[in-house]
């Protein structure tokens, strides 16, 4: 074989995730054979039968690269985050949930008890007269059963353990993953720890081909269903909130190509403390008004600011709980 280099030990793990990140890895399709030729997949629950106990048995630093997707929602997620940190030379927060908290992070707009109450008591098809809740330890006739503890807060991976790189996206675009993977395999020098990889330093707007005028100004916000998108004009210029100006490029502007405005899953342009406020200030800079009263009137049309500007990043916000 021409490849004399030792194969990389690669792991992929999901915590509080939907599985879409793992599917983005599977979507290498026929290139899967190239990946397998260059790396030993040592742990990947969606595809491989390796147990937690096998990971525990690995020497520290045994895994070269772990792609960790999903947020940290319960005790099991946190345990795995810490364990994989210990076992991995390079820990990558893969996808929006590990990067910023992601969609599951929207749960931080409520408390654990509010979530349990809705799901287990109030849901309109649920019958639960005794107001039972899932318990970490339950006694059944035959013995006892355990469940992980559901935390009050969702956290990103970086809030639980040290992360080497962030590979953003919901899910990350498979081509970006392959580029990063091939760079690692070829032995290219890696950027400084803490960097965002697999994404551009430019904004979505820089890659977007929709028509925009030099000096765009918005005098009224509209919701996506309120316009007849012409398919060619910048969403902001059509009055629809699009987070393209403040969001990193890298996805191939896929939402806009699907005729939907950007919702910011690739995260803010720079490594900012509060991604949502960065998004908000980018949008406010294109409001066509100077008087406070006028601005207020325009902003009034803006429904659900928390869920829009912080769609993927509530756990990473300065105030990580319900503020609005």
């Amino acid at each position: 074989m021409e490849n004399s280099k030792p194969k990389l030990n690669l792991a992929v793990y999901w915590a509080a995730a939907c599985g879409g990140c793992c599917v983005s890895v599977l979507d290498v399709h026929e290139k899967l054979f190239d990946v397998v030729a260059a790396a030993n997949l040592v742990f990947w629950p969606i595809a491989l039968d390796v147990k937690y106990s096998d990971v525990e048995a690995m020497p520290d630093g045994f895994i070269d690269v772990t792609l960790f997707n999903g947020a940290v929602r319960n005790t099991e997620n946190e345990h795995m985050a810490r364990l994989l940190r210990k076992k991995s030379k390079v820990l990558v927060a893969y996808g929006s949930c590990a990067h910023l908290g992601g969609i599951p992070g929207l749960a931080n707009l409520s408390t654990r008890e509010e979530i349990f109450k809705r799901v287990y008591d109030e849901c309109e098809s649920t019958v639960n007269p005794d107001q039972l809740r899932p318990l970490t330890v339950s006694s059944v006739g035959e013995g006892s059963l355990t469940l992980p503890e559901f935390y009050n807060d969702v956290r990103s991976l970086g809030q639980v353990t040290a992360v080497d790189y962030y590979l953003p996206g919901c899910p990350p675009q498979t081509e970006r993953l392959l580029e990063v993977f091939m760079a690692i395999v070829s032995g290219a020098s890696l950027p400084p720890a803490g960097s965002v990889i697999g994404a551009s330093g430019k904004a979505q707007c820089d890659e977007c081909t929709r028509l925009k005028s030099e000096n765009k100004q918005i005098s009224r916000f509209l919701r996506p269903y309120e316009i007849y998108d012409d398919g060619i004009t910048c969403f902001l210029e059509q009055g629809v909130i699009c987070l393209g100006p403040a969001t990193r490029a890298g996805c191939g502007v896929r939402c806009v190509k699907g005729n939907a405005p950007c919702r910011g899953c690739y995260g803010p342009l720079e490594d900012v403390k509060d991604p949502g406020s960065r998004m908000m200030s980018a949008i406010s800079s294109v409001i066509d008004a100077r008087e406070a009263e006028e601005i207020e009137k325009i902003v009034e049309n803006l429904v659900d600011p928390a869920g829009t500007f912080y769609r993927f990043s509530i756990p990473s916000a300065m105030i990580r709980r319900k503020v609005l």
Partner: protein, 488 residues
């Protein structure tokens, strides 16, 4: 009392745990299948603008995102009081058929086939998709990946991205099809039909021609007499995108046939302290515990239940295969859990044929993609068949169209009680006093579970076809007596 713990089950969407309690005599006393995860979408959808929700709920599951997008899109249409245009409805269904093709292909080849093509007692290292390829030839492996890729590409073309799609907008779709794109899909869908027929031939040659397998399917401890649920069209033919939900009792008599908006008349969910996942049951029959038969409200919502609940398929080749399945098994409804694999292939053929039919429809390239918005009605219910069961999304909004309440019954959730019971039956059938619990027995227990293609099992989209287990044999004091491992 001894306790067997199978934990964690890999290749689950989320994580799963099976607890088997043995009596002091070594017989199976009880089995619990636990889902240790919750994210709480029903709560955090509150406050979101309704038109954003179809894009948010795809994040419930990255394996079947298209199902949530469709059920949600239909619920949101209703919130805005809109019906999609004819072209929009066809584009949605076309997308959805590609979603089914990709999922059913992956499940059969990566998950089901290893047990049959390689055999349930084949050493674990060979009992996977690679083992299947070794038996049937490398060309087929490449072809499986290629067909799944083509199905993903159709979804990406229409939905912007193959996983987290953004096709639906209230009253229609964001994107139409050009004649050229249509021509490509016609060609691809023709290939899907051929590949589905080929897959049924493999099932015929490998499974049906082997008496041991037929005996295992028909006589093994894989039988549950449950109610069967599925979405049907006006002819009571299987439909995945739209129609009425029909439920037949274990004898095949119609129990109910309801519209999406009436689901709460027929389905309720209960809570157990030992699982984060709720347990739906048929409201009019009632919850009688984890028991089977006509008096128990436990039902299943799977490829097999859909075929049981319907009176046929809407496309000709799938109809012939539907008739063949019931005539070979010789009874309807079929209650043999492992027949779900056969039913899934009949559905694969239907999805492929329907995909082709829609692509060839003259109006599929129409430009009328949206019904104009007209006020906010404030409540909407959308039901589709997900690959893994009937999926219901129900939302209420305020006058601005912001969500005030959300209720969701996910495909696999329907089967929560049935899965527990199937695992218990298989465990009782194979774990007996004096029998050593080995690898092969673990796999046979697992097969009961795998047939459902549970959504927490992303196994659907996985490579090797079996699930590792650690079984801890514990004394009643919790002391570890023996451990059986099955790892790579």
């Amino acid at each position: 009392m001894k306790q067997l713990t199978i934990d964690p089950i890999t290749r689950l969407e989320g994580h799963g745990k099976i607890e088997i309690f043995l009596s002091d005599e070594g017989e199976v006393d009880n089995v619990f299948f636990q889902v240790p995860e919750l994210r709480g979408f029903e709560k955090f959808l509150e406050g979101r603008p309704a038109e954003e929700v179809p894009q948010i709920v795809t994040k419930i599951c990255g394996v079947c995102p298209g199902c949530h997008h469709m059920a949600s899109g239909k619920a949101v249409d209703m919130i805005f009081g809109l019906q999609p245009t004819a072209t929009a409805a066809m584009i949605r269904e076309l997308f959805y058929m590609a979603h089914f093709v990709h999922s059913h292909i992956a499940h059969f080849y990566a998950l089901a086939a290893p047990d049959f093509v390689c055999g349930p007692d084949t050493p674990k290292a060979e009992r996977n998709i690679l083992g299947v390829i070794a038996k049937v030839g490398a060309d087929i492996g490449t072809e499986v990946i290629r067909q799944r890729r083509l199905a993903q590409e159709i979804q990406a073309l229409l939905g912007g991205h193959q996983t987290h799609v953004m096709l639906n907008i209230p009253g229609g779709v964001r994107k139409g099809l050009t004649a050229e794109q249509r021509d490509d899909i016609v060609k691809t869908a023709g290939g899907f039909v051929e590949f589905a027929r080929f897959s049924l031939r493999i099932f015929e040659d490998v499974v049906l021609a082997n008496k041991d397998y037929v005996d295992m399917i028909l006589q093994g401890p894989y039988k549950l007499r449950l109610y069967s649920m599925g979405l049907v069209d006006s002819n009571n033919h299987v439909n995945f995108y739209d129609g009425h939900v029909r439920v037949v009792d274990p004898d095949g008599r119609e129990h109910c046939r309801y519209q999406a908006v009436d689901y709460r008349e027929y389905v309720s969910e209960r809570v157990e302290t030992w699982s984060y996942l709720k347990f739906p049951f048929l409201k009019k029959v009632g919850w009688k515990g984890f028991t089977e038969g006509n008096d128990s409200g436990v039902y299943h919502a799977t490829p097999l239940s859909r075929l049981n609940a319907a009176e046929g398929m809407a496309t000709p080749l799938a109809m012939a295969e539907y008739n063949r399945m019931f005539s070979v098994i010789g009874v309807k409804p079929v209650h043999n859990t492992l027949a779900m694999h056969w039913a899934r292939l009949v559905e694969l053929l239907y999805s492929a044929e329907r995909c082709l039919e829609l692509a060839m429809h003259p109006d599929i390239t129409g430009s009328d993609l949206r019904t104009p918005p007209d006020g906010i009605a404030g409540e909407g219910v959308g039901i589709v068949e997900a690959q893994r069961g009937t999926l219901t999304h129900h939302y209420w909004t305020d006058e601005k169209g912001l969500i005030t309440r959300a209720n969701i019954i996910v495909g696999t959730t329907n089967n929560n009680a049935a899965i527990c019971m199937s695992i218990k039956k298989a465990a009782q059938g194979y774990i007996r006093k004096g029998v050593t619990v080995d690898e092969g027995i673990l796999n046979r227990i697992e097969m009961a579970f795998r047939a459902y293609d549970p959504c927490f099992s992303c196994a659907t989209h996985s490579l090797p076809g079996n699930m590792p287990m650690i079984v801890n044999l514990r004394s009643s004091s919790g002391e570890l007596l023996r451990q059986i491992r099955r790892d790579l």
